[in-house]
Amino acid sequence: MAITKRDIVTWAELIQLISQMLLAGVAALKDDEPVDFDAVKIALTPEEAVRRLRPEGTAKLEKGE
């Protein structure tokens, strides 16, 4: 059972493909790193959102927009 040139090419392509998939997988994991459940909490309540936007909103109302 001799190994042909074609077999080598197939294996090389296969290894390349698997490494590309692994890299893509790692990149996808990195995309969400770190998994910090404190950081993902909502910090701004509706009341605070209005307070933060108020000067801008008041200015617009005064301009009659």
Partner: protein, 145 residues
Amino acid sequence: MSLSFANRRLVFLLLLTSSLLLPGCGDFERNAYRTLKVAKVEYELLQEHAARAYLEGRLTEPQWERFAVAGNRFIAAHTLAADLMKTYQQVRRAGSSEDERARLEARINAALAQLPVLLADLRALLGSFDSGGAAAADESRQSRR
């Protein structure tokens, strides 16, 4: 020729295995994290839209208060789910039993499942203000003068 067929079969099996294994890395935590992240972004957009509408006089005071109540309810549910996930991480690191983890996973899944429902409620609430709210906001503005 038969070797080539075997190779193809091996390639297929390796691809299948790697495609199953890759998404399997820390699936539960990562999926929960993504769900919470997406829900947060979506909620913050809704909240900002509602707050601007209120400040620009397109929502009445009672409408804004209804939104704020529903919004705080959503934030509470979201925070609960995030806290449960923190507990889950601690439990996993402590090497707790499968049973305990499974119970926690069930609670987390229930908490996460609530989020899209609450978001849909908020969207529907804002939608109801948009359709019937313009006239009410005009009336409210006139009565304030």
